[in-house]
């Protein structure tokens, strides 16, 4: 088992005062708290921080830790191995290292960590495809002790929760099972950006399509549709496909955001075509808006 350097986790020397430990924890906790930070490893970093703080903030535990730290080998540490009810989804569980040093009882002793033993057995996350939310879907989730097939209702939005009645773990043996709540996340999509029920799609068009108008085949979660691009559509124009976003009451819209893609002038003919275009519009000034 790896010996954890709790002082390094908090960016401190082992001579730090209790006040310094508190300040260092608070500062880093604000930075890495998973509700605040969007850094990918925030959750793991915060967990390390919280554990380090829990070990060092309590003078008795700190003394025990310092003693173990001072041992020449920093080992052998008793290795209980295995997992102690680890919930991969959530929870303030301690590392094996922490528990080998302070015992599993430390979890209960840290009064702030768990107010009800079952709190963390009632929440998990599920990552779905946008199409699952559009059509509704059935997905298998793996919990710590079992698997469930979940019917995902049509129209669920990113960040919402699904309640699975009676699927939480019961608080006490024989007690009633609580409900299980699944927080819904969407996997990133190749084409669409999601905003509530609305979807945004970048629609590349050719310069002549932008000028003359065109009919473009556009993917939507319900299948491709023909979209009329009006003549004179500059980049950034949003074309709304009413009700083609995620279903609901009212359903969301799908917005195709026009972007002009310019073919290269890499042959004499294509160069001449652009030059002819320039001669045709001698007074066209796209930057007139920048002139005072």
């Amino acid at each position: 088992m790896e010996f954890k350097d709790y002082y390094a986790t908090l960016g401190l020397q082992s001579t730090a005062t209790q006040d310094e430990i508190k300040r260092a924890y608070r500062k880093l906790a604000r930075k890495y708290h998973p509700d605040v930070s969007k850094e990918a490893d925030a959750e793991a970093r915060f967990k390390d921080l919280a554990e380090a703080y829990e070990a060092l903030n309590d003078p008795q535990r700190r003394a025990a830790y310092d003693e173990a730290r001072a041992r020449p080998q920093r080992a052998p540490m008793p290795d209980f191995g295995g997992d102690h009810g680890f919930d991969p989804n959530e929870g303030m569980n301690h590392s094996d290292f922490f528990e080998s040093l302070f015992g599993k009882a430390a979890r209960g002793a840290s009064s702030q960590r768990r107010r009800r033993a079952t709190a963390e057995d009632h929440h998990a996350r599920i990552l779905i495809d946008l199409e699952d939310a559009y059509h509704g879907a059935r997905r298998t989730i793996s919990l710590q002790d079992r698997q469930l097939e979940v019917n995902i209702p049509k129209g669920v939005r990113e960040g919402q929760h699904l309640r699975l009645a009676g699927q939480g773990l019961s608080g006490e043996p024989g007690g009633p099972a609580g409900d299980l709540y699944l927080e819904v996340g969407f996997k990133p999509h190749a084409h669409y950006r999601v905003d509530g029920r609305d979807l945004y799609l970048d629609l590349p068009i050719a310069p002549w399509e932008a000028a003359l108008g065109a009919t473009a085949t556009v993917p939507t979660p319900g299948g491709p549709v023909q979209l009329t691009v009006p003549a004179g559509s500059s980049s950034g124009r949003k074309l709304r496909l009413k009700g083609r976003g995620l279903p609901g009451d009212p359903p969301g819209h799908l917005y195709a955001v026009v972007g002009i893609t310019v073919p290269p002038a890499d042959t004499p003919a294509s160069t001449q075509a652009y030059e002819a275009l320039a001669r045709t519009f001698p007074h066209f000034n796209p930057r007139s808006v920048l002139e005072a």
Partner: protein, 109 residues
């Protein structure tokens, strides 16, 4: 640990909390794994705004679940106290701004 193949995996239907569920104080307290008293404090601090005249008939919106859980986590980990409501409001504003950036496709350009 795993359900064996002869034992089919149970099928359950999810209900969208934010759209279709309202919570009593007891419901929300179970869903968050928190004591009534902790939620009452959150109401006093303005984090949660239930309908009703008092704890016995409070009804919390489905969206209260996320807000309550975030407030409890942050309160526990960061000792926020009375600033919690403000912090949650600011976090929601940041989330709205992030959504706006996504709409504009900022990450693609």
């Amino acid at each position: 640990m795993m359900t064996s193949s002869s034992n089919p995996i149970p099928v359950v239907t999810g209900v969208i909390v934010e759209d279709d569920i309202r919570f009593t104080l007891e419901d929300l307290s179970r869903a968050c794994g928190a004591e009534h008293a902790q939620l009452i404090v959150l109401v006093e601090e303005g984090v949660l705004e239930p309908g009703g005249s008092g704890p016995h008939d409070w009804m919390f919106s489905g969206a209260s679940l996320r807000r309550a859980r975030t407030a409890l986590r942050m309160g526990r980990d960061l000792q926020l106290g009375e600033g919690t409501a403000l912090v949650l409001d600011l976090l929601e504003q940041i989330e709205d701004l992030r959504a706006q950036l996504r709409r504009l496709g900022a990450q693609n350009r």
